[in-house]
Symmetry: C2
Subunit: 392 residues, 2 copies
């Protein structure tokens, strides 16, 4: 693990969720970090999302701490604003930092009051536990229906030194492309001002978290925060900044793909590659429609090479193309050529589709160079099991 | 059953599907009927959809027969055009009518060649079996994954007589609002020209089949045809025409709601009523987002009054509203008041949600009079069972 310098982490069980599993986490930067963030575009936004936005504005993008609770979204709650603000106030007072340098984040059930006393009572304990090596504890504690924690790391060589980057994310259901889906936190020790970080993060999100779909539902709490505290004293510019930006994209794509793999009930991760569209946007619309189609996703669950459903989903995507120019391959095996059935061994392909990684390639001939990659997962009975009784 | 005058029906087993269940049907009007139709907006359109459109254009909206096969969509097939045309040619020749007065319709798997000989060989047998009383046989024979046939009837008193209307539909999965979802055929003996029928059918579809969602997937073969053969010699106008139009809307809503009830794997029909929006369009966007949300639909499957998911789905619908002005009721029990949790008996409501008819009411206060009703069903393991192995 290549952890960036100047960050400390801790988690504890504050009693917010029933299961006795850490549910309150803290990420602290030793010095105020330049920061950038993307938030859900849902009209219904949880109190912590609104307060984080306000804090980033008033602090001019400086962040010293992130307080995260799992088990309760603090959304559509009477005391939402007060709870998030009090959380930040207590954390700021104990850490000796301005309140607007604390970002709150919540994930869990919507519409249930979050008792602030549980958080404020547990905060001193969390702060006491802060350590540069407890990154993984936080990655564990922010999980809800996730089966596995999701982390990714990168190192970018600059001159004689190296910038480090470490990211964690949580999310398994209620996941839909468009905006920072789920919670994600990325820390780096590079020296980069917020004004440079923000457009870089927005562009990288477009190529990663916005290309991910588990069930087409978009959460009220989604946020992705990027902190750069400058502890490495390395300030990338020119080609080095491009390299850093590429590393960020790859790290976020890695995290997004981990979410697809851990999609609620998922047995298989599905990668969808669309190429030959008139533009990348056109390709993305097609990839998104395929990624969101319950019929495609149940066919993958059953290892059924039902390419007609893929063609049909592309057909209602809103993108224009000539169906007779479409080739489709599953697991590298061509199943549709020029819009018609291609000969293939049903038995052999079914076996390939039993693997846990599935690839759908959708290519349009003679239209353009637009391409897009999306990630999703298969739709199984496990998804129903998890979601028919999540709340109670 | 109030069957309209001047129509005959028949079905047979032509061997198109494996299961030995009638798969080839014929609806014949004794005289050329004025007709109107709505078709899928999917870019990928099956050969019968394209040919039906062409025939309606060239016949100036006159139709004498509809040939329907189940078990094969005749979509994305090499011989698609030829098969549909040959089907119409043989039917026309045997019935002694112009070929462009025959509409073909197909439903079933995509991308598998449809052997035309099976149809042409069976057509004489179907024609021989034509009878005014075999309406129900056709309603049975057009089913695919449907568990029950779906029919609806209406009678509109005009002067001393009455106009009769009889409709049938099929569809269970791959169902999404926007255009005549699934196959539907409505016959009436009214005297109404195509020029009046078409806008009436389009408007009625908007209020019925376009408000229906099972899984958000839109088929390549969807078509809804309305025939008016004038056999009653009654020509409604003015208030009578309005009455006829209302009866058509009610009949189509009845058929659409039957599809929701028979949604693949559905245990429950869900009706979504949105009110208080700025416009009906705004209300429809909210209702559609709720109807399409897998998280809402799995919660209903588990009788979980998880109103947070309903509010969240409305929040990403694209419609504007103030979440703090929203009331939500489930089965008539208020669960969310002014965007916040309302007190209710969890146990009592869970019991009410176990019923096979579920009502979600979503009301926005102080915004407007826009309203919309949508139909959907719960999302269960049965949907996965059916769709993980439909093709093979």
């Amino acid at each position: 693990m290549l952890l960036p310098l100047g960050y400390r982490y801790a988690s504890t069980y504050a009693g917010i969720r029933k299961a006795k599993k850490d549910d309150l986490s803290l990420i602290v930067s030793d010095t105020p970090a330049s920061s950038a963030a993307v938030f859900t575009t849902n009209l219904v936004q949880a109190a912590p999302v609104r307060l984080s936005k306000a804090h980033l504005r008033s602090s001019k993008g400086k962040t010293s701490a992130i307080v995260i609770n799992a088990g309760n979204a603090n959304c559509a709650t009477r005391t939402g604003e007060a709870v998030s603000l009090e959380t930040c106030r207590v954390a700021a007072a104990k850490l000796g930092i301005p309140v607007n340098q604390v970002l709150p984040a919540s994930t869990g059930v919507i519409g249930v009051e979050l008792p602030v006393a549980k958080i404020t009572k547990a905060l001193p304990r969390v702060i006491k536990g802060l350590s540069a090596s407890r990154f993984q504890d936080v990655a564990d504690a922010i999980m809800t229906t996730d089966l596995v924690p999701k982390t990714a790391f990168a190192e970018v060589a600059i001159g004689n030194g190296s910038i480090k980057m470490a990211g964690m994310t949580k999310g398994s259901g209620m996941i839909h492309p468009n905006m920072a889906t789920t919670l994600a936190f990325v820390m780096t020790d590079a020296v980069i001002p917020s004004s440079v970080l923000q457009p870089m993060l927005s562009a990288a999100t477009e190529l990663s978290f916005n290309r991910l779909s588990v069930d087409g539902d978009q959460s009220t709490n989604d946020m992705l925060v990027l902190l750069a505290n400058g502890a490495s004293a390395l300030k990338p510019s020119g080609d080095d900044l491009d390299l850093f930006s590429s590393a960020l994209i790859l790290l976020l794509q890695d995290l997004a793909a981990q979410i697809a793999k851990d999609g609620e009930g998922a047995q298989k991760r599905v990668t969808i590659d669309v190429s030959g569209a008139a533009s990348d946007e056109e390709a993305s619309r097609i990839a998104r429609a395929i990624a969101n189609s319950p019929l495609v996703k149940t066919a993958i669950a059953g290892s059924d090479p039902n390419w007609g459903r893929i063609l049909s989903a592309a057909g209602y995507s809103g993108s224009k193309f000539d169906p007779s120019k479409v080739d489709i391959a599953l697991q590298g095996v061509q199943v549709c050529s020029a819009g018609l059935a291609a000969p293939f061994s049903e038995k052999a392909l079914k076996k390939k589709l039993d693997e846990t990684e599935c690839l759908i390639e959708f290519n349009i001939k003679g239209r353009g160079k637009g391409k897009s990659r999306f990630w999703t997962c298969d739709l199984t009975k496990g998804y129903i099991d998890i979601n028919a009784s999540y709340r109670t």
